[in-house]
């Protein structure tokens, strides 16, 4: 049996190389094409390597759309959302796992039931609520309705449950109040869990599309995904410009991903399989 597997090893290996190449090919194509001239783009047979490295494609992107503003909007909104969501979830998870209070069960099932309702159902009334509250085209309007605490709370609860109650009792005997127990016992002991949940939350918010699309009309308030959608409509088939924009949107993410690959994988497996 083992011999059979060994014999097949080259086949598997070549297969993995091919499928990896297919997965990466679009990125390579994008990377090279971001520097192409429009003549390269229209040439047949296709030109792989740009005839001269043309940096003006990037300038063209900045001329067409306020790209840096979109970028800053996206990162800022996603960071604040992640921070708020994790803070709210961690406090809630602490109360739900380690504190006794009336209505604890009810609160938990209330939270669980919220996970059954897809975004598109709440989107229509949320838009009306946001517009009555004057939140359309504001950062508060982008940030607050996008918070999605139920899942991260349940994720953190499953970690908090593993922290022994003795640790909390010991802190209590030492005269710690509940807030100090939360800040100085719970949080430092669940750094990995908080990190995993934060990474998960950040990725969700950073990719968020439907809500920012609905709640922004003003160009300056757009996040990166929405800005790119409109760039397509404005540039039609100037693909070299689109590739320059795509490169600037993708490369920073890919770099962060390659540096933190282990954390990404952990976040996926934990968030995927825990629920």
């Amino acid at each position: 049996m083992k011999g059979n597997l060994k014999k097949r090893y080259p086949v598997f290996f070549v297969f993995l190389i091919l499928s990896s190449a297919l997965m990466i090919f679009p990125f390579v194509w994008m990377f090279l094409s971001a520097f192409k001239t429009s003549a390269d783009v229209y040439s047949y047979p296709p030109k792989w390597i740009p005839s001269s490295f043309k940096w003006t494609n990037f300038a063209e992107v900045f001329k067409k759309i306020p790209f840096l503003r979109f970028y800053a909007n996206s990162i800022g909104v996603a960071f604040i959302q992640t921070f708020l969501q994790i803070a709210i979830s961690a406090m809630g998870a602490f109360a739900l796992t380690k504190l006794e209070f009336p209505g604890r069960r009810k609160m938990f099932s209330f939270m669980q039931s919220s996970m059954y309702v897809p975004e598109v159902v709440t989107m229509i009334p949320l838009f009306l609520l946001a517009s009555w509250a004057g939140l359309v085209d504001t950062y508060a309007g982008l940030i607050l309705p996008g918070l999605n605490c139920a899942f991260t709370t349940i994720l953190l609860m499953s970690f908090f449950q593993t922290i022994p109650n003795d640790l909390i009792d010991a802190a209590k005997i030492d005269g710690c109040g509940y807030y100090r127990i939360f800040l100085q016992v719970m949080l430092p002991n669940s750094r990995t869990a908080i990190g995993t949940a934060s990474l998960f939350a950040f990725l969700t918010h950073w990719r968020s599309y439907m809500w920012p699309l609905i709640v922004t009309n003003n160009v300056k308030m757009r996040t990166l995904p929405i800005g790119l959608k409109y760039l397509v409509q404005e540039t039609s088939s100037e693909y070299q410009t689109l590739m320059a924009a795509s490169l600037m949107a993708i490369i920073p993410v890919l770099v962060v991903y390659m540096l933190m690959e282990k954390e990404f994988v952990q976040s996926i497996t934990l968030t995927g399989l825990k629920s």
């Binding site: 090893y9 604890r104 609905i214 690959e261």
Partner: protein, 305 residues
């Protein structure tokens, strides 16, 4: 401290009260987000579905079940439903089988394993809108590399996103590329959690590698597989971003109109929010049905421990 001088019982009372107060403070933000972002909108959307609520006019009259009757008799709604079922079926089969296959290849000692894993997962982390720009070019019927390859192989050029027949398939192909790595990671984690001793035992009993896979690994992987399939179905029913970026006007002859794009179109493009709300509730019932099935399956899964 004052409390220490009191009887133990009143000290306990004091502590319980302190605990309740701390709990109230810490649970309130969570409660508020759930109330405003879940409870209130759900009540609101049900109420809206019974009115002729409009985005552009002040109309808000009670119309009973008219919106539901409209949606369920609307040809476009059923077209969207059909497209969504097609999308879900094709994407799910392709995604699950390819991901499982790649995961089994990665679940062995192989050179450059880390690189392979990174390569397959990379499309998952980049923003969908950014990567779909690349594919928009791939699919260009005139100067897209896909057609240039087809032509150079002597095959007929295709219209990709610009033909009624292939538009939805093109979106699916992009979507499989984009999402495959997620399932690879989940399957891989599942495979690696299978104890080596089980596999050894099967091999000692003379099982071939194929038998080890189908008789030992696959049954043990059942919880992961059912999770991947069920989440896959639910996520396919909710898909919006890639169709909206690649075919902003629902493709040729609305061939890429999906349920969520139908709801979005009714509520925010046509301004018929009552109808949109009704359609959203229909979608919710479908998704809820699948969620119940998943829960039932999740409980039934055999554990070998």
């Amino acid at each position: 401290m004052k409390a220490e001088k009191r009887s133990p019982r009143s000290r306990n009372n004091l502590q319980a009260r302190e605990q309740r107060r701390a709990a109230a403070v810490m649970i309130t933000p969570l409660f508020l987000t759930l109330f405003f972002l879940f409870f209130l909108p759900v009540v609101f959307v049900v109420a809206m579905s019974l009115t002729n609520w409009s985005l552009t006019t002040p109309a808000r009259d009670f119309v009973g079940t008219k919106n539901f009757r409209f949606v369920l008799n609307d040809e476009r709604f059923w077209k969207a439903m059909g497209n969504t079922v097609f999308y879900t079926a094709i994407k799910l089969v392709a995604d699950t089988s390819i991901a499982l296959f790649i995961a089994t290849l990665l679940d062995r000692k192989i050179h450059f394993r880390r690189f392979f894993r990174i390569a397959h997962f990379a499309p998952v982390v980049v923003p969908i809108t950014a990567s779909s720009l690349i594919w928009l070019w791939f699919y260009d019927p005139g100067i897209g590399p896909l057609n240039q390859v087809l032509v150079s192989l002597g095959l007929p050029a295709m219209q990709w996103l610009y033909s009624e027949k292939t538009a939805l398939l093109s979106v699916i192909l992009f979507s499989v590329w984009k999402g495959l790595g997620y399932n690879v990671i989940l399957f891989l984690a599942g495979l690696q959690s299978i104890p080596e001793s089980y596999l050894e035992a099967a091999r000692i009993d003379g099982a071939s590698e194929r038998q080890v896979f189908f008789k030992v690994k696959l049954p043990l992987l059942a919880p992961v597989t059912s999770f991947v399939i069920m989440m896959g179905i639910i996520n396919c029913l909710k898909v919006f971003t890639e169709v909206d970026v690649m075919t902003p006007n629902h493709g040729p002859l609305e061939s890429t109109l999906l349920l969520v794009t139908y709801i979005y179109d009714q509520s925010f493009v046509r301004g018929k929010m009552g109808r949109g709300a009704a359609a959203a509730l229909v979608l919710f019932i479908v998704i809820f049905g699948f969620t119940l099935v998943q829960r039932a399956f999740g409980r039934k899964n055999v554990s070998y421990d």
